[in-house]
Symmetry: C2
Subunit: 182 residues, 2 copies
């Protein structure tokens, strides 16, 4: 059963969140606000405080942004460059011989960190879209990411033009995701 | 370099979040607020809207709570039962022959969903602690969780007594998690 009704009382930062593919290409995010997104990720919880995350952040117009855009797939290249900020989200992964203890929760914790970035973005009047449509290997090579890190996802952050379509949110009903057991 | 300084401007719901192991054992969370936590998870983003999450939620005193407590490890049994709510967080995983498309981002997206629950909890004046100290197989058997789901983590939600120690938060410095590349 699909259900798009939202229960009253959900915090506005969560209730108003959605993932646009249309961003205002004229809006520049200043450095302080871009850094606040990283700060939000930084204070996310993680297993044993392992903090198994790292980020490559480019602001539209800067060198890092150009290097990120170079490795977008055709599908994301149509919309992602218009966002104010692009971020590559890196998860620490296990490789024999590295000195940092592996956490089986690296992906899980990176997801939490990116969720915190998204919540902070909403608080700044921004929206985020996460995506996988990029060349993972080429992007890792571009930024010299060692093998014990994985470029897991990318995020685009920016303002949304007032004409953007916000209608396309639906979810499984609560009864389907709340497990009752046998 | 470890650094526990927080940049001003971080949203209060993120800045004030921490993971207690002391909960007020007299505080009961009502059904409506417990359901809001699930609602927050429900509206989290996920790869292709795959929503690869499910939850087993017990409120202290109910039957589900007792069945969850039964499978806590000794370390979490010391503190987790005093929280108002215990949740087992399930990630969808790949098994040949199942009809639901596997997402490589199941753990990542579950992390996002649990982060959204935590943010909603903060908005309700609650705190959360996630943990792995439980018998994964026994808990799955208890609730008849099929093999294409994994009981990945648990969360405890509750109020924190005013005497709880909030001082133990530190993180890597921003310069360490913001990747500059070669």
């Amino acid at each position: 059963m699909q259900d798009d009704s939202m229960v009253p009382g959900l915090h506005p930062l969560l209730a108003a969140r959605w993932s646009p593919t249309t961003f205002d290409p004229t809006f520049d995010l200043d450095t302080a606000h871009a850094e606040l997104l990283v700060e939000a990720a930084r204070w996310a919880p993680s297993a044993g405080n392992s903090q198994p995350w790292a980020f490559v952040m480019g602001r539209r117009g800067d060198d890092t942004h150009q290097r990120l855009v170079r490795h977008l797939a055709a599908s994301s290249r149509r919309w992602a460059p218009s966002a104010s900020v692009l971020v590559a989200n890196l998860a620490h992964r296990f490789v024999d011989g590295t000195d940092w203890e592996y956490s089986e929760f690296a992906h899980y914790d990176l997801g939490q960190a990116v969720a915190h970035m998204t919540v902070q973005a909403q608080a700044l009047g921004l929206f985020a879209r996460q995506f996988r449509a990029f060349d993972r290997d080429a992007l890792a090579a571009e930024f010299g990411v060692p093998t014990h890190w994985e470029v897991t996802t990318m995020s685009a952050f920016g303002r949304v033009p007032p004409t953007a379509d916000t209608s396309a949110r639906e979810r499984r009903a609560v009864g389907e995701l709340l497990w009752k057991g046998p």
